[in-house]
Protein backbone atom coordinates (compact mmCIF):
# COMPACT_ATOMS: atom_id res chain seq x y z
CA UNK A 1 0.00 0.00 0.00
CA UNK A 2 1.42 3.34 -1.08
CA UNK A 3 0.53 6.73 0.42
CA UNK A 4 -1.45 7.50 -2.75
CA UNK A 5 -3.60 4.44 -2.21
CA UNK A 6 -4.35 5.43 1.37
CA UNK A 7 -5.39 8.83 -0.01
CA UNK A 8 -7.87 7.11 -2.35
CA UNK A 9 -9.31 5.18 0.62
CA UNK A 10 -9.61 8.46 2.55
CA UNK A 11 -11.37 10.00 -0.47
CA UNK A 12 -13.96 7.20 -0.41
CA UNK A 13 -14.60 7.87 3.29
CA UNK A 14 -14.91 11.66 3.06
CA UNK A 15 -16.85 11.90 -0.22
CA UNK A 16 -19.42 9.27 0.75
CA UNK A 17 -20.03 11.00 4.10
CA UNK A 18 -20.53 14.38 2.44
CA UNK A 19 -22.73 12.89 -0.28
CA UNK A 20 -24.99 11.01 2.13
CA UNK A 21 -25.40 14.00 4.46
CA UNK A 22 -26.37 16.30 1.58
CA UNK A 23 -28.82 13.71 0.20
CA UNK A 24 -30.43 13.27 3.61
CA UNK A 25 -30.82 17.01 3.99
CA UNK A 26 -32.37 17.35 0.53
CA UNK A 27 -34.79 14.47 1.04
CA UNK A 28 -35.90 15.88 4.39
CA UNK A 29 -36.82 19.13 2.66
CA UNK A 30 -38.73 17.28 -0.03
CA UNK A 31 -40.75 15.31 2.52
CA UNK A 32 -42.29 11.89 2.08
CA UNK A 33 -42.30 10.42 -1.39
CA UNK A 34 -45.34 8.23 -1.90
CA UNK A 35 -45.47 5.05 -3.94
CA UNK A 36 -48.23 6.59 -6.02
CA UNK A 37 -46.18 9.60 -7.05
CA UNK A 38 -42.95 8.04 -8.21
CA UNK A 39 -42.38 11.03 -10.51
CA UNK A 40 -41.56 12.93 -7.31
CA UNK A 41 -38.64 10.56 -6.82
CA UNK A 42 -37.37 11.23 -10.35
CA UNK A 43 -37.68 14.98 -9.85
CA UNK A 44 -35.76 14.73 -6.56
CA UNK A 45 -32.46 14.64 -8.50
CA UNK A 46 -32.85 18.29 -9.57
CA UNK A 47 -33.24 19.56 -5.98
CA UNK A 48 -30.07 21.59 -5.16
CA UNK A 49 -29.04 19.65 -2.01
CA UNK A 50 -29.70 16.36 -3.76
CA UNK A 51 -27.70 17.49 -6.82
CA UNK A 52 -24.75 18.48 -4.60
CA UNK A 53 -25.02 15.11 -2.86
CA UNK A 54 -24.95 13.32 -6.19
CA UNK A 55 -21.80 15.23 -7.26
CA UNK A 56 -20.01 14.11 -4.08
CA UNK A 57 -21.22 10.56 -4.62
CA UNK A 58 -19.76 10.65 -8.16
CA UNK A 59 -16.37 11.63 -6.71
CA UNK A 60 -16.80 8.82 -4.19
CA UNK A 61 -17.57 6.42 -7.05
CA UNK A 62 -14.40 7.30 -8.97
CA UNK A 63 -12.26 6.67 -5.86
CA UNK A 64 -14.18 3.49 -5.10
CA UNK A 65 -13.64 2.05 -8.61
CA UNK A 66 -9.95 2.92 -8.40
CA UNK A 67 -9.64 1.13 -5.05
CA UNK A 68 -11.49 -1.95 -6.30
CA UNK A 69 -9.03 -2.23 -9.17
CA UNK A 70 -6.16 -2.91 -6.76
CA UNK A 71 -7.76 -4.20 -3.56
CA UNK A 72 -10.30 -6.83 -2.50
CA UNK A 73 -13.92 -5.90 -1.91
CA UNK A 74 -13.70 -7.34 1.61
CA UNK A 75 -10.73 -5.04 2.26
CA UNK A 76 -12.11 -1.81 0.78
CA UNK A 77 -15.49 -1.95 2.51
CA UNK A 78 -14.34 -2.23 6.14
CA UNK A 79 -11.31 0.00 5.52
CA UNK A 80 -13.60 2.85 4.48
CA UNK A 81 -16.23 2.35 7.17
CA UNK A 82 -14.67 5.18 9.21
CA UNK A 83 -17.26 7.24 7.33
CA UNK A 84 -19.84 6.28 9.99
CA UNK A 85 -17.53 7.49 12.73
CA UNK A 86 -16.91 10.69 10.77
CA UNK A 87 -20.65 11.43 10.54
CA UNK A 88 -21.08 10.98 14.30
CA UNK A 89 -18.07 13.19 15.07
CA UNK A 90 -19.32 15.90 12.72
CA UNK A 91 -22.68 15.73 14.51
CA UNK A 92 -20.96 15.93 17.91
CA UNK A 93 -18.47 18.71 17.32
CA UNK A 94 -20.21 20.88 14.71
CA UNK A 95 -23.89 20.34 15.45
CA UNK A 96 -23.47 19.74 19.21
CA UNK A 97 -25.39 16.47 19.14
CA UNK A 98 -25.07 14.36 22.26
CA UNK A 99 -23.35 11.00 21.70
CA UNK A 100 -24.61 8.33 24.11
CA UNK A 101 -22.26 5.70 25.63
CA UNK A 102 -23.70 3.03 23.29
CA UNK A 103 -22.83 5.21 20.32
CA UNK A 104 -19.28 5.71 21.59
CA UNK A 105 -19.07 1.91 21.92
CA UNK A 106 -20.29 1.58 18.33
CA UNK A 107 -17.64 4.06 17.21
CA UNK A 108 -14.99 2.06 19.05
CA UNK A 109 -16.13 -1.21 17.43
CA UNK A 110 -16.01 0.30 13.94
CA UNK A 111 -12.56 1.79 14.57
CA UNK A 112 -11.36 -1.61 15.81
CA UNK A 113 -12.79 -3.28 12.68
CA UNK A 114 -11.01 -0.79 10.45
CA UNK A 115 -7.72 -1.34 12.26
CA UNK A 116 -8.16 -5.09 12.01
CA UNK A 117 -8.63 -5.18 8.24
CA UNK A 118 -6.17 -2.39 7.42
CA UNK A 119 -3.38 -4.25 9.21
CA UNK A 120 -3.93 -7.27 6.94
CA UNK A 121 -3.11 -7.68 3.25
CA UNK A 122 -5.17 -5.61 0.78
CA UNK A 123 -5.25 -8.31 -1.89
CA UNK A 124 -5.70 -12.00 -1.27
CA UNK A 125 -4.22 -14.21 -3.95
CA UNK A 126 -6.87 -16.28 -5.67
CA UNK A 127 -5.79 -16.87 -9.27
CA UNK A 128 -2.07 -16.19 -9.42
CA UNK A 129 -0.95 -17.03 -5.89
CA UNK A 130 2.74 -16.31 -6.41
CA UNK A 131 2.24 -13.03 -8.26
CA UNK A 132 -0.27 -11.56 -5.87
CA UNK A 133 1.73 -12.77 -2.87
CA UNK A 134 4.83 -10.95 -4.08
CA UNK A 135 2.71 -7.88 -4.75
CA UNK A 136 1.42 -7.83 -1.18
CA UNK A 137 4.90 -8.23 0.25
CA UNK A 138 6.28 -5.34 -1.81
CA UNK A 139 3.37 -3.10 -0.77
CA UNK A 140 4.00 -3.98 2.85
CA UNK A 141 7.64 -2.93 2.47
CA UNK A 142 6.69 0.32 0.71
CA UNK A 143 4.27 1.38 3.41
Amino acid sequence: MTFRKYLVLAGITVFSTAGDSLLARGMKELGNVSLHHLSGLLLAVVHPWVTAGILFLLAFFACYMSALSWADLTYVLPATSLAYVLVALVGHFRLHEVISPTRWLGIALIAAGVGFVAAGPSVTPSRQPRDAGRDTVSHEVES
Binding site: V33, L73, Y84, G120, S126
Partner: protein, 126 residues
Protein backbone atom coordinates in the same frame (compact mmCIF):
# COMPACT_ATOMS: atom_id res chain seq x y z
CA UNK B 1 -47.26 1.29 7.18
CA UNK B 2 -44.28 3.56 6.66
CA UNK B 3 -42.24 1.24 8.91
CA UNK B 4 -43.00 -1.64 6.52
CA UNK B 5 -42.04 0.51 3.56
CA UNK B 6 -38.78 1.43 5.25
CA UNK B 7 -37.87 -2.24 5.84
CA UNK B 8 -38.86 -3.17 2.27
CA UNK B 9 -36.53 -0.42 1.08
CA UNK B 10 -33.77 -1.72 3.41
CA UNK B 11 -34.14 -5.25 1.99
CA UNK B 12 -33.95 -3.91 -1.56
CA UNK B 13 -30.90 -1.77 -0.74
CA UNK B 14 -29.04 -4.79 0.70
CA UNK B 15 -29.85 -7.03 -2.29
CA UNK B 16 -29.12 -4.40 -4.95
CA UNK B 17 -25.96 -2.98 -3.41
CA UNK B 18 -24.43 -6.40 -2.73
CA UNK B 19 -25.12 -7.41 -6.35
CA UNK B 20 -23.68 -4.10 -7.54
CA UNK B 21 -20.55 -4.29 -5.35
CA UNK B 22 -19.76 -7.82 -6.51
CA UNK B 23 -20.27 -6.97 -10.21
CA UNK B 24 -18.23 -3.74 -9.96
CA UNK B 25 -15.42 -5.40 -8.02
CA UNK B 26 -15.33 -8.19 -10.60
CA UNK B 27 -15.20 -5.64 -13.45
CA UNK B 28 -12.39 -3.61 -11.88
CA UNK B 29 -10.33 -6.73 -11.19
CA UNK B 30 -10.61 -7.56 -14.89
CA UNK B 31 -9.53 -4.04 -15.85
CA UNK B 32 -6.53 -4.22 -13.52
CA UNK B 33 -4.74 -1.56 -11.46
CA UNK B 34 -6.07 1.73 -12.91
CA UNK B 35 -3.18 3.76 -11.48
CA UNK B 36 -0.65 1.78 -13.46
CA UNK B 37 -2.88 1.70 -16.54
CA UNK B 38 -3.28 5.48 -16.40
CA UNK B 39 0.48 6.01 -16.14
CA UNK B 40 1.07 3.79 -19.16
CA UNK B 41 -1.86 4.63 -21.44
CA UNK B 42 -3.58 7.79 -20.11
CA UNK B 43 -6.90 8.49 -18.43
CA UNK B 44 -9.02 8.02 -21.59
CA UNK B 45 -7.72 4.48 -22.02
CA UNK B 46 -8.75 3.70 -18.44
CA UNK B 47 -12.28 5.07 -18.94
CA UNK B 48 -12.63 3.26 -22.26
CA UNK B 49 -11.48 -0.02 -20.82
CA UNK B 50 -13.82 0.25 -17.82
CA UNK B 51 -16.81 1.09 -20.02
CA UNK B 52 -16.07 -1.82 -22.35
CA UNK B 53 -16.16 -4.34 -19.52
CA UNK B 54 -19.60 -5.98 -19.91
CA UNK B 55 -20.27 -6.51 -16.20
CA UNK B 56 -19.65 -2.82 -15.42
CA UNK B 57 -23.00 -1.44 -16.73
CA UNK B 58 -24.82 -4.29 -14.97
CA UNK B 59 -23.14 -3.31 -11.70
CA UNK B 60 -24.04 0.33 -12.31
CA UNK B 61 -27.67 -0.61 -12.86
CA UNK B 62 -27.74 -2.55 -9.58
CA UNK B 63 -26.18 0.47 -7.83
CA UNK B 64 -28.84 2.69 -9.42
CA UNK B 65 -31.56 0.46 -7.97
CA UNK B 66 -29.83 0.62 -4.57
CA UNK B 67 -29.55 4.41 -4.82
CA UNK B 68 -33.23 4.93 -5.58
CA UNK B 69 -34.18 2.45 -2.84
CA UNK B 70 -32.10 4.59 -0.47
CA UNK B 71 -33.84 7.81 -1.52
CA UNK B 72 -37.16 6.02 -1.12
CA UNK B 73 -36.21 4.60 2.27
CA UNK B 74 -34.89 7.97 3.51
CA UNK B 75 -38.16 9.67 2.64
CA UNK B 76 -40.11 7.06 4.65
CA UNK B 77 -37.96 6.03 7.55
CA UNK B 78 -35.46 7.81 9.78
CA UNK B 79 -31.92 8.36 8.60
CA UNK B 80 -30.84 6.68 11.84
CA UNK B 81 -32.73 3.49 10.99
CA UNK B 82 -32.37 3.15 7.22
CA UNK B 83 -28.67 3.92 6.79
CA UNK B 84 -27.26 1.81 9.68
CA UNK B 85 -29.61 -1.13 9.15
CA UNK B 86 -28.91 -1.41 5.43
CA UNK B 87 -25.19 -0.67 5.81
CA UNK B 88 -24.48 -3.19 8.56
CA UNK B 89 -26.37 -6.00 6.85
CA UNK B 90 -24.74 -5.14 3.51
CA UNK B 91 -21.32 -5.59 5.15
CA UNK B 92 -22.11 -9.16 6.13
CA UNK B 93 -23.88 -9.94 2.83
CA UNK B 94 -20.86 -8.57 0.93
CA UNK B 95 -18.38 -10.72 2.86
CA UNK B 96 -20.42 -13.83 2.03
CA UNK B 97 -20.91 -12.82 -1.63
CA UNK B 98 -17.22 -11.88 -2.12
CA UNK B 99 -16.21 -15.29 -0.82
CA UNK B 100 -18.65 -17.18 -3.04
CA UNK B 101 -18.56 -15.16 -6.27
CA UNK B 102 -15.20 -13.36 -6.23
CA UNK B 103 -13.25 -16.18 -4.54
CA UNK B 104 -11.69 -13.70 -2.14
CA UNK B 105 -10.08 -15.33 0.85
CA UNK B 106 -12.17 -13.94 3.65
CA UNK B 107 -9.90 -15.01 6.46
CA UNK B 108 -10.54 -14.73 10.18
CA UNK B 109 -9.19 -11.17 10.20
CA UNK B 110 -11.74 -9.98 7.63
CA UNK B 111 -14.68 -11.81 9.17
CA UNK B 112 -13.89 -10.19 12.50
CA UNK B 113 -13.55 -6.79 10.79
CA UNK B 114 -16.88 -7.18 8.95
CA UNK B 115 -18.68 -8.27 12.12
CA UNK B 116 -17.09 -5.52 14.28
CA UNK B 117 -18.09 -2.87 11.77
CA UNK B 118 -21.63 -4.28 11.35
CA UNK B 119 -22.05 -4.48 15.13
CA UNK B 120 -20.67 -0.98 15.59
CA UNK B 121 -23.05 0.43 13.00
CA UNK B 122 -26.01 -1.18 14.83
CA UNK B 123 -24.84 0.23 18.20
CA UNK B 124 -24.57 3.70 16.70
CA UNK B 125 -28.19 3.46 15.58
CA UNK B 126 -29.46 2.69 19.11
Amino acid sequence: MSELHAWAAIGLIILASTTGDVLLSYSMKRVGDVDELRKRRGLLAVVGRVLRTPTFPLGLMAMGVAFYSLLFGLSWGNLSLVVPASASLTFVANAVAARIFLHERVGRRRWIAALLVAGGVVLMAL
